[in-house]
Symmetry: none
Subunit: 140 residues, 2 copies
DNA sequence: TCTTGACTTGGACAAAGTCCAATGTAGGAT
DNA sequence: ATCCTACATTGGACTTTGTCCAAGTCAAGA
């Protein structure tokens, strides 16, 4: 599931494979932490010092449009980019310690919103965050 | 459920009742759309032309601390303020323009998470964000 | 009505992101 | 292998969203 897949797909769409794009993909392919655009830029600049912020923003935006990377805005601050975009997953968050687990709810989540509650929107996606106490916090 | 309740509570906490705060509360008391801080400022300025942005930001922040208003950050853009903080509801967000509506999905949302997906958590709440294009953006 | 501490103001500042004209270059064409 | 050119990159100006602060203003209790 490395980013070389992503690079192949990009090339397959007629995208030019530039050093900048390669480096951004490499950064995203690293840890399973979700970086902000500026963090991606900083890390990319370690590999390719002259890369510009604009290019990082462009490239991230392109990957998001491609559906290869997920844009996550958790707190109203900078968006973060989640390279693990292939399997839809939701989050289970501990209200006390903040631990996050990925979960896979059952059923069609979109179906829960009746037509008369859609107000003319073309609804296409749904994000769910479950909250509660993790085993450790519930015990303590 | 008007904002006069809110104003009473604010006064009860020893908060000064100023024209600015009254006007911000009035704006929030409108329909079930959630405004950004700048939108609140624009609407407040129709009622009280000289109100400053700083005051609107301060007042919204105060209401959020009070728990009377919910701060919602759905995209990486401006936060939106949800005056309907007392009743459980979910959100329907336009992917293009960021407009938010309150919605009330059917069924038990918590039930969608099977026991084997709870990892020992005591799950007690769920937040759902539906995304799609609003009628205006879909047309344009 | 006076006083005072809390509130408001406008502007400077900062962070996150977009836009654009000029420049550079990947990759197909020759 | 080299040339072309359409597409990518760059840096800086600009926008949006939000914070901070010193100075002025005012709500409300004494």
């Amino acid at each position: 599931m490395g980013m070389s897949d992503l690079l192949d797909r990009l090339r397959g769409r007629g995208w030019r494979l530039t050093a900048q794009r390669r480096v951004v993909a490499e950064v995203l392919d690293g840890d399973h932490v979700h970086y902000t655009a500026d963090e991606v830029h900083a890390k990319a600049a370690e590999l390719l010092p002259e890369i510009s912020r604009a290019t990082v923003y462009n490239t991230l935006g392109e990957m998001v449009s491609l559906g290869e990377v997920l844009e996550v805005s958790t707190d109203g601050r900078a968006k973060r980019y989640d390279p693990n975009a292939h399997h839809a997953h939701q989050h289970l968050v501990c209200s006390r310690c903040g631990t996050i687990r990925d979960v896979h709810p059952s059923g069609d989540l979109l179906a829960g919103l009746p037509a008369e509650q859609r107000f003319g929107f073309q609804v296409s996606a749904v994000e769910v965050t479950y909250r509660g106490l993790c085993p450790g916090c519930a015990a303590g």
